[in-house]
């Protein structure tokens, strides 16, 4: 029996076709039947245009695209023998705004997807206003972001050599005030204990002290038996270099270095269904990327402990992402305090961009995982641009012999509803997947 289902909400939609055998999902294919041709649009345009076009790939993680684009162009500078110098201030502001984008993504996903879906799955009613609560918290994060980036979504304030903003003390005080408000919200609504306590959990026993929505969500996850299903490859990849994340892969419980030259794109598996997404593979293997991968590679004690008990189940995946929001809030606080406003925002690169010819690659950790932009410039004009988005790793569509991470996680589910929930634990962002 084959059943086709539309997965919608948040960022575009995907079509998943399930095959059933003995009341269990035996295989599933994922298709994304829409595309805008972003890479073709970027071709033949001046390099700096990438800073305006690529954020518009996605309405929810556009800032990550901006960061990746600016890193890609800066890497062309470096490969041309004119490495770009960036002040610590500009570096910190870039990382701060990226972190805020991650936080708002995680909170929106938790309150607009995970919580309502769980309530739907278990037929347990939750308050209507719940959905709006997450959106409110997310808007606090984007407000802080806007202080430095001008607006959210779709900002282009990062440029090769730094950032265009020149924040004053007033700006930084405003940002601190908003961040405090966000942290207070997080403590009061989501966890019921202090952020400091929560972010220093070393065992899952400590979770017993958590109240608030997080307690409810955790209980619902267990009740829906999410700790017993949704297992994927147990192979993790995080390629972006940040203070909050380490670039590495984790296979067979061992860490190893990664290099972008091993990343390949392959045609998706499809049986007569149209799809515009290409599969991203590392050394021709499927890898899971995103918050769980980052936690495994960074060695976050609370998540590692959880992993020992429940492996890479849907439960662990959801918990890892919501826990990452807490760690990132702490990180934000530190970053905001560390910014020295006296430093320059921008240091002029040694070469003119119109004199640049060469290749470059920019990798960042976006909300859903590793995002790669690679570019070839000829005299400052884009000759070739390639985007590899996190969902191309997680939601790749392989054959029954080589299913992608989300496909593999759905196999064995006893109903379409639970399989769909597992699918959502990777988070659909179809506008990124096909771009």
């Amino acid at each position: 029996m084959t059943i086709r289902k539309w997965i919608e909400r948040i960022e575009g939609e995907a079509s998943v076709q399930f095959e059933f055998e003995k009341n269990h999902v035996s295989f599933a294919t994922i298709a994304f039947p829409h595309s805008r041709g972003m890479e073709a649009i970027l071709q033949s345009k001046p390099a700096m245009d990438a800073l305006v076009i690529t954020p518009r790939v996605c309405g929810i993680c556009g800032h990550s695209h901006l960061f990746a684009a600016v890193r890609a162009i800066e890497s062309v500078y470096a490969n041309c023998g004119a490495p770009v110098e960036i002040s610590q201030k500009a570096e910190s502001i870039r990382e701060l705004t990226l972190t805020l984008e991650l936080i708002q993504n995680h909170l929106k996903w938790l309150y607009l997807v995970i919580y309502p879906e769980l309530s739907h799955l278990l037929q347990e009613k939750i308050a209507d206003s719940c959905r709006l609560k997450g959106a409110y918290a997310a808007s606090l994060a984007t407000k802080i972001l806007a202080i430095f980036a001008g607006q959210w979504p779709h900002s282009s304030y990062m440029i090769p050599g730094g950032v265009t903003c020149d924040p004053t003390h007033v700006d930084s005080i405003r940002a601190e005030g908003l961040l405090d408000e966000l942290i207070r919200w997080f403590e009061k609504e989501l966890i019921g204990i202090t952020l400091d306590e929560y972010s220093h959990f070393s065992s899952d026993k400590a979770f017993l002290t958590v109240t608030g929505d997080m307690e409810k969500i955790e209980k619902m996850l267990k009740k829906a038996k999410m700790h017993e299903q949704g297992f994927s490859y147990d192979r993790y990849l995080a390629m972006g270099e940040h203070a909050f994340s380490k670039s590495s892969k984790w296979v067979n419980r061992r860490m190893a270095k990664v290099h972008s030259k091993f990343v390949t794109l392959e045609e998706p598996y499809s049986i007569g269904e149209k799809t515009y997404a290409k599969n991203a593979l590392y050394q021709h293997n499927s890898f899971e990327t995103g918050p769980l991968a980052r936690a495994m590679i960074k060695g976050v004690p609370f998540i590692k402990q959880m992993y020992r008990q429940y492996q890479d189940s849907t439960y662990t995946r959801v918990m890892a992402r919501s826990y990452e929001a807490a760690l990132l809030l702490e990180h934000c606080k530190k970053l905001l305090h560390s910014i020295n406003l006296e430093e320059p925002s921008y240091i002029k690169p040694l070469k003119k961009i119109t004199a640049l010819s060469g290749e470059g690659i920019g990798i960042v950790e976006a909300p859903r995982g590793s995002l790669i932009h690679s570019v070839i410039l000829k005299n400052g004009i884009i000759d070739h641009y390639r985007l590899i988005t996190p969902t191309q790793w997680n939601l790749s569509c392989g054959s029954p012999k080589t299913p992608g991470p989300a496909q593999k996680a759905m196999i064995g589910a006893d109903s379409i509803e639970t399989a769909t929930f597992t699918f959502r634990s990777f988070d659909v962002c179809s506008v990124c997947t096909t771009h």
């Binding site: 289902k5 829409h34 518009r56 556009g62 808007s139 407000k143 265009t164």
Partner: protein
């Protein structure tokens, strides 16, 4: 030079670019009576959802006084005289009687994100909460077949009454195969036409839906077009910008609830209350432009002192939008506030014509002075003349307006 002056005069006096802020006493009296009648009619209707506006205000700790302040600001934004303030306040309560169906086509969902209160002043957010969003592919609680059914039902139930909001462009290339939707694989084009058929009005939100936006940028790989290129014979409102400002979305719905009509539009079908003025007219860095103080390169002394970004490619002087007043993310900031010029994202073909780091003189824009200029400084000169004439016209207009508002002073007090 005299040709230029003529061209500029033409630009500023053409009917579509004139913003009439005062239409006279009789007009507003008639409108007031009409609006009152409409609101009474709506009051009799059953609300489409359970959310109660006054409860939500209370939940969010907003008192009546603060709300009335918002209502009078919104009245001003919609270019209505102060006597309309109580009507606006009433109309807001009735927002859950205006069924809205929201479609997402070839897009990045950035406008939905904006609607999700990524920005917009606090009361606007609550208003957005209570708007009866019957179908939104991104935000809805239902999904899959259930959602499709929900939408069919909403379209049937509110036949001829719902406002259709469309986000995203329509790919026409390859027979529309670059974008399909639902289990039947319906193309975005067919889907849009079907949903628009029984809509009271269609609102295109964001630059993709209005003019094709980034997907339509050269070489337009998917043949993307805007809603107005395919939907005919329907009242159509364009709210461009990337992302569109939620304040403007609320304004359009509010105007519709209040008057039952679409707001006054310019030649590109944009509501004049939001797109009647140029970014440049109200820019916080305008004084530096007038003084000839420019940022010459990133990070220079000009940049540190918030000088005008015109020479860095700012398109503010050519772009009609209210972001210099409304700003983004609950009024926190806007691109020019962080030293990045305007990219003209609310103008047609903004990408190909207005690309951001190219000064206007190097861009393929037909300048108001009648052609593409040779250098920035030369162009600046032409523009300065334009501005001067612009100010002249405005001054004349406000003199007339002042007289008129003097006549109806009685009501406004």
């Amino acid at each position: 030079m005299s040709d230029r002056v003529e061209a500029v005069k033409k630009l500023f006096t053409s009917k579509s670019s004139r913003v009439e802020t005062n239409k006279g006493d009789t007009y507003y009296q008639d409108l007031f009576v009409k609006c009152e009648a409409r609101l009474n009619e709506m009051r009799a209707q059953a609300p489409a959802n359970r959310l109660d506006f006054s409860d939500l205000l209370e939940d969010n700790g907003i008192d009546r006084r603060e709300f009335m302040k918002w209502a009078s600001a919104t009245t001003a934004m919609l270019m209505l005289p102060p006597m309309f303030t109580p009507l606006i306040a009433d109309a807001v309560v009735m927002m859950n009687r205006a069924p809205v169906i929201w479609l997402e086509l070839q897009d990045c969902a950035g406008n939905s994100e904006a609607l999700l209160r990524a920005d917009g002043p606090k009361i606007d957010e609550i208003v957005l909460d209570i708007i009866s969003l019957e179908y939104h592919e991104t935000l809805q609680a239902a999904s899959g077949h259930q959602a499709e059914k929900q939408m069919e039902e909403a379209m049937e139930l509110f036949k001829g009454k719902y406002i259709l909001f469309v986000e995203g462009s329509i790919p026409m290339g390859m027979n529309g195969q670059y974008g399909t939707i639902g289990a039947s694989g319906e193309t975005f084009h067919d889907h849009l036409l079907r949903c628009a058929e029984n809509a009271a009005a269609v609102v295109a939100v964001g630059s993709c839906a209005t003019f094709g936006g980034i997907p339509a940028a050269s070489p337009n790989p998917t043949g993307a077009v805007g809603v107005m290129d395919v939907v005919k014979n329907k009242p159509l409102i364009n709210i461009p910008a990337c992302p569109a400002n939620p304040a403007n979305m609320v304004g359009v719905i509010l105007h519709y609830v209040l008057t039952g009509q679409v707001p006054e539009l310019d030649s590109l079908l944009r509501p004049k209350f939001a797109f009647g003025y140029r970014i440049h007219d109200n820019c916080e860095r305008r004084a530096h432009f007038d003084a000839g103080e420019y940022v010459e390169e990133w990070g220079d002394a000009g940049a540190q002192n918030n000088f005008c970004l015109y020479k860095m490619g700012c398109k503010g002087p050519m772009t009609f939008n209210n972001c210099s007043i409304v700003r983004y993310n609950e009024g926190v900031n806007w691109p020019i506030g962080v030293g990045r010029g305007c990219i003209g994202c609310s103008e047609p073909d903004f990408w190909d014509k207005y690309a951001y780091e190219r000064p206007m003189a190097d861009a393929k824009i037909k300048a108001p002075t009648g052609g593409v200029e040779k250098s920035v400084d030369e162009f600046g000169l032409g523009l300065l003349t334009a501005t001067a004439i612009g100010i002249g016209i405005h001054a004349a207009a406000s003199a007339v307006a002042g007289k008129k508002s003097g006549e109806c002073e009685g009501e406004s007090k």
